[in-house]
Symmetry: C2
Subunit: 106 residues, 2 copies
DNA sequence: ACAAAGGTAAGGATTGAACCATACCTTCAA
DNA sequence: TTGAAGGTATGGTTCAATCCTTACCTTTGT
């Protein structure tokens, strides 16, 4: 079962949920940036500069979190988003590479 | 530009469209069967036995076709669906393997 | 104590996906 | 030519995603 924040265990990750999460260009852009960044990079939601309201930000990051793509950890003042790189790569090898390889024409 | 039947050229294939097409479990099932089949296998829409009406079948196969996953060729009496395996693999390596590797719990 | 920053929740509008039933077209076979 | 099979188009419904505005909570810094 997913934990209280909605993070699924690796074996609970569903390919359909991952693909649905990555079908959205803005969410894909977030993941692409994290894949290209340093392995343990932590970013806040707003730091990606998506052209949507705060409420929509929450929605998009929840989709990413519940699909298992990112982990959101409490940092007191804010919540840091971190790519679950190794867990995803172990379960769905090559998926992140596809997103990272997409040209910047998002 | 896509041809008259809506088949995109390989360089026109959009990762977002492919992911959106594969986010649906029934469409993913079609692709998974084609990936596991012989390389040049041709199947009709109805041969997959999806539990939907004929109208919905047309819809699903159009999504697959316009994303670039399958090629539908006129066979007079019917239209044969064929996986565009090599073209997809060249442009998005590993994508088909992810779908094929999904366990049969669709 | 207070305001600002980061984030969430609730309410509501809009859009598109998915679905079905029905009707129609084309081709093959009887 | 008549019927069946495979597909498509049309019309209409239902449901979920996306988006916004507004309001609220928590933590940090003053």
């Amino acid at each position: 079962m997913p934990d209280a924040e909605g993070h699924p265990e690796p074996h609970e990750m569903q390919l359909g949920a991952l693909l649905a999460a990555l079908a959205d260009p803005q969410r894909r852009r977030v993941i692409a940036e994290l894949v290209r960044a340093e392995p343990l990079t932590e970013r806040t939601c707003v730091s990606f500069g998506l052209p949507v309201s705060k409420a929509s930000l929450t929605h998009h990051f929840r989709v990413l979190r519940e699909a298992g793509l990112i982990r959101q950890v409490d940092r007191g003042n804010s919540r840091a988003a971190q790519l679950r790189r190794d867990e995803i790569e172990a379960r769905f090898p090559g998926l992140l590479a596809l997103v990272a390889a997409e040209d910047g024409a998002l």
